[in-house]
Symmetry: C2
């Protein structure tokens, strides 16, 4: 009973604390929205400099987190993600310098035209306002996300994993130094200082103070947040990506693309999880392709028709078609034509990224037009679907939503466009 | 007990029915996404023709709704909204012809450019997929919404008010005729045939089958739907719009704009609800302005400073600043400068539409840049903030959200942009 009362009191306190952060962020967002490009870039470069010069302080803070993590029994992979090495610290600083070098999206005016009424109408790109970022163990997200939000004129509230709290606070100190040097409010970037879980519950239910939430982490975290949020969430769910090798594919090209899409890196969202092969070239294509995958250590799982060509591989179940392996496993399905390939994709894809390999003009056009995924490629590896390769400079995530930002989300995804009108006294008749 | 079991059985039946509609809509959406501009326009014109030729059938069905409405005791305003007159039927047909005349947004490819890797990257405009529309008594929404969704390549599930069920079904019959004549699937536009409330609960929680919900109706309907929805909602909440008359305004222009913004129509979302006046010109501006409003029958409510100039008007309370009157009532506040005006707007505006009247270049620029509303105007009436005046041809609503569509939502707001890549065998190095 007493514990319950204490918990309730603590929840009230956390709520008040988060409300305060929210109010401060909203106030800072008004200043940031009108900040000059120069002052935002000055802040980004000053933060990079502070991070470099305070590398030893960052590593000392990180040691506290690592020791606590070891005591708590975190696994090796988690401890690795948590560790701030010299090269990771240098990467954070370089990332901020790269964001400073990007064009400022804010204030861009497009499509100005006169209307018959005499008003001149256009759209102006503006910040979203306040962005809440919820992430897990990697402390470098603190600097990366803060940099993108700052450049796009948004205030940020960062809620990292409790296991990285000391590292995140040390990075936040560098960020605040840089903001101060540029004459910007330090509340433009706030790191949540409590590790209480109630803080997340509050952050995602303050529509007055937070305009959008970007969760970065596993699918279960993102689904949980989306379910409970009362503000919009830019979601990055799973990447079940497909390569379809058409009957009119250049088979040598198809082999390179499929191999790259699967084996360049296994644990990434734009890796291929299912290979679809046209029935008429399957016998010619699959044996050599399979040999190369098996040599690389990839476990293959095939449909009935695939097994007739590759009798030694495992059988793919219905579950396989819906699985994001993020591992050296590939499911293979032989399909009758491009329609069957697209039907499979519409049924099983997570609408992230799909590639067709073909030399046929009509087939390529149909695939481009009809496949409803955030990236659709012809004759190129699925691995290109990322912010850096697309020239966005950096990305805050890859959105699997259809509304607002779709696919890699860079600076523009953190902005909105409002309508602006220049008149000279016009009234509605 | 028995009633509860019956209700439960009915809920299960309604759920199954809505799932079926959803599946059918998803299938139809695949066909619509690849439909040619010509076939979509053919359907729109055929629907317009069917509506005209079946005017008598529509009016007969409407009579059933009107009689039931009278028996149920609906008020006069509601019965008026429900009534299909000859001119309203003609308006529906004309609206569809206007949508047919608009450019097809689907397939538009923008910003194609080569990346250093050799891939050619761009964005293609595509339909959202399936759009659920929830609306109240006006049966004309059935034709208007179906037309916009059809042109933008989306399948639609329409859930009108139960009081308009016969009218909506008769309009749906015209729509289906038109779709059939154009060779498009009739499930591209489906009208929910049950008046059970459970149908709405289902429609807004089927993310597999519905991509976005557009509620059209009062604020309470929209808030309720947004709260319970598990799919994105394009929201149109209230319009608490402001006109700020700056110290450097052309006062004759300011008077015309303020009068038009308030009195052109009272019951619309882009009407002015609060007039903000710079202190240094208030004594000069307000007496004549007030006289004109009072002559027009507008009730004025002022702040303390306003009351010193206009001692005979009512006092505005804090609640007034947050009220969308939609009536012949106007609140007036005297402010010290543009900063105080913007502070008031940020605190009390619904972020719909705000106007500044000024001849000062810097003040105009600051207002345009810093006011965070979906439409920001200089020297023009707030009444221009609408899809027709902006040249969108028609609008499905005015979004007060910042993400995705902001302000008047036309065809483009019902679309998404996916990334497309043309390669020639590129792989990630």
């Amino acid at each position: 009973m007493k514990a319950e009362i204490l918990a309730e009191e603590s929840a009230v306190e956390v709520a008040a604390y988060m409300q305060k952060l929210g109010q401060q962020a909203r106030e800072a967002s008004r200043v940031l929205a009108r900040a000059t490009t120069n002052s935002k870039n000055t802040a980004l470069l000053a933060i990079a400099k502070a991070i470099r010069s305070q590398a030893e302080i960052l590593k000392a803070a990180n040691q506290l987190d690592l020791q606590a993590g070891k005591t708590k029994g975190l696994d090796a992979a988690m401890l690795d993600r948590l560790t701030l090495t010299d090269s990771r610290i240098e990467s954070m600083a370089e990332g901020l310098e790269q964001v400073a070098a990007l064009a400022d999206p804010i204030g861009e005016i497009s499509d100005m035209r006169y209307r018959p009424s005499g008003i001149q109408l256009g759209q102006m790109r503006v910040p979203l306002g306040v962005i809440g970022i919820i992430y897990e163990s990697r402390p470098n997200v603190t600097a990366d996300a803060a940099g993108l939000c700052l450049k796009s004129g948004n205030a940020t509230i960062l809620r990292g994993g409790s296991e990285a709290i000391h590292s995140n606070q040390a990075i936040a100190a560098c960020i605040h130094q840089g903001l101060q040097q540029a004459g910007l409010p330090i509340n433009a970037v706030q790191v949540v200082e409590t590790t209480d879980r109630e803080a997340v519950a509050q952050l995602i239910t303050m529509p007055d103070y937070v305009d959008v939430i970007v969760p970065r982490g596993g699918k279960s975290l993102i689904e949980r947040i989306s379910k409970d949020a009362r503000v919009p969430v830019i979601k990055h769910l799973d990447g079940i990506c497909h390569v379809y090798v058409d009957v009119e594919a250049d088979l040598a090209m198809a082999e390179e693309i499929a191999f790259n899409a699967k084996c360049h890196r296994y644990g990434v969202c734009n890796a291929m999880e299912t290979l679809l092969v046209h029935a008429d070239i399957a016998k010619q294509f699959l044996p050599k392709m399979a040999e190369r995958f098996i040599k690389e250590g990839v476990e293959l799982r095939g449909c009935d028709k695939t097994l007739r060509i590759l009798p030694d591989i495992n059988t793919a179940t219905e579950e396989d078609w819906d699985t994001e392996y993020l591992a050296a496993i590939l499911s293979i399905r032989v399909v009758d034509n491009v329609d069957a390939a697209m039907l499979h994709i519409h049924k099983h894809s997570s609408a992230h990224t799909e590639t067709i390999v073909t030399q046929n003009y009509d087939t390529a056009r149909r695939f481009l037009q009809e496949v409803d995924s955030s990236s659709v490629l012809v004759n190129a590896s699925t691995r290109f679907a990322d912010g850096f390769e697309y020239g966005l400079g950096a990305e805050i995530g890859i959105s699997t939503d259809k509304l607002h930002a779709r696919g890699p989300v860079g600076l523009n995804g953190l902005t909105s466009q409002k309508w602006i009108v220049f008149g000279s006294g016009q009234i509605r008749k």
